[in-house]
Symmetry: C2
Subunit: 241 residues, 2 copies
């Protein structure tokens, strides 16, 4: 076996399987309040363990595909989505994370490498939504298979943290957007109102956007200016995609 | 097999092995310039593939240990280090990343889950340093086994980015430190001088430190104030440790 080991006997790792899963976020109106909020798609498991329960889209890593290729493949297959922003989130490998109640039924161990993706509302509307794939309000998901509730909680915390210091909010918007639209994204993610003047000042100071010279048409008598993103792609290691 | 799969046949993943490796940084004087700079320990491989080449400390994930437990175990075994700051960095899984020149010799595929650690200079001095474990200037490592050069580059970029928005620099220091010592850490990591007055203003505005009420003794007639860290642990998912 080829391993990164320095010395010593090679322990038995035959029962560790690698899976790649993805947490996909989109902003859509809350079903009761109508307020813009985060949603994510889940898939229903059609086999044991956790048969019938909802889980993150994903699947085992195939031996001839890279991690991000695996994430894109299972996303496309289960939801029809091809997100613009796709980023590695974290790898989850607690020893008992894939064991259901019945130990005999499921002895093997799974390490899940989890990606997170951001998609625009129009994309989310076009995505698959059926008996075995359904969108949920991200803060109100049911009890999920494996440790997927913990993964969703971590992805939400990461998104809410990262939006405060990185221009990832742009991934929820079209190529051109108003500062009010950008603020609505931040408010939907953070679940709280933001002061318009402060928000405008901070965004313009961050040099993450530039005016396009165009204005939003069909609105008020003082149409708002349109901006475009100046942000570079998220800093990530080079991955074969 | 228990996998996070929605449907479809389970592909053959038997040849994917999971390894856990760690990039450990310490600040020590550069051997020629004497300027404080980042170093890291590497271990010499004593078996194929890449026998004789330097590599990051690490090893295969054992089936009964969590990811962070694996990182701590191989760190302790190879370097004797038990770092205060240990954080998951990224998982590397390009298809051909573990294949040496001789395909026959090494057909299996390895996904490496990489952690990064920060240790204080005194700890680094007490660490193992021998024929098969040696410290290198982080920006001047030789050609490493596997894709470990790319991993080191990414870890350096991540550290240099994160130090600008997070109080991780404290991990390089004792529990009490002066603002000049904290600035020296930032300068050693970023490889450039920082304006003392600006640095002081930014650190105090960040609320990441508080004065201890004590002063550094044995120095000038105006001894500098000592501070302690107010930072919470890095935001990470709950891991069994």
């Amino acid at each position: 076996m080829s391993t990164d080991v320095l010395a010593g006997p090679v322990p038995a790792t035959d029962h560790v399987t690698v899976a790649v899963s993805t947490v996909i976020f989109a902003l859509r109106p809350h079903p009761t309040t109508g307020v813009s909020t985060l949603w994510l798609p889940l898939v229903r498991r059609i086999r044991e363990p956790y048969e019938g329960q909802w889980a993150l889209p994903g699947g085992p890593l195939e031996s001839d595909e890279d991690l991000v290729t695996s994430a894109r493949r299972t996303l496309e297959r289960t939801t029809g989505l091809d997100p613009r922003h796709l980023e590695q989130l974290y790898s989850f490998g607690a020893v008992d994370r894939s064991r259901a109640g019945d130990e005999q039924q499921c002895r093997d161990r799974v390490v899940s490498i989890v990606y997170w993706a951001l998609v625009r509302a129009e994309e989310a509307e076009r995505a698959v939504n059926g008996q075995n794939v359904r969108w949920f309000v991200a803060d109100e998901v049911p009890e999920l298979a494996f440790d997927h509730n913990a993964i969703v909680r971590y992805a939400l915390a990461r998104l809410r943290s990262k939006i405060t210091y990185s221009p990832i909010a742009h991934a929820f918007l079209d190529d051109e957007f108003t500062l009010a639209q950008l603020r609505a994204v931040h408010e939907g993610v953070l679940l709280r109102p933001l002061d318009p003047a402060n928000f405008r000042r901070q965004v313009l100071a961050s040099s993450s956007v530039e005016p396009t010279g165009q204005f939003l048409t069909g609105t008020s008598h003082r149409p708002p200016a349109l901006y475009r993103s100046l942000s570079r792609p998220t800093h990530q290691p080079e991955e074969q995609a």
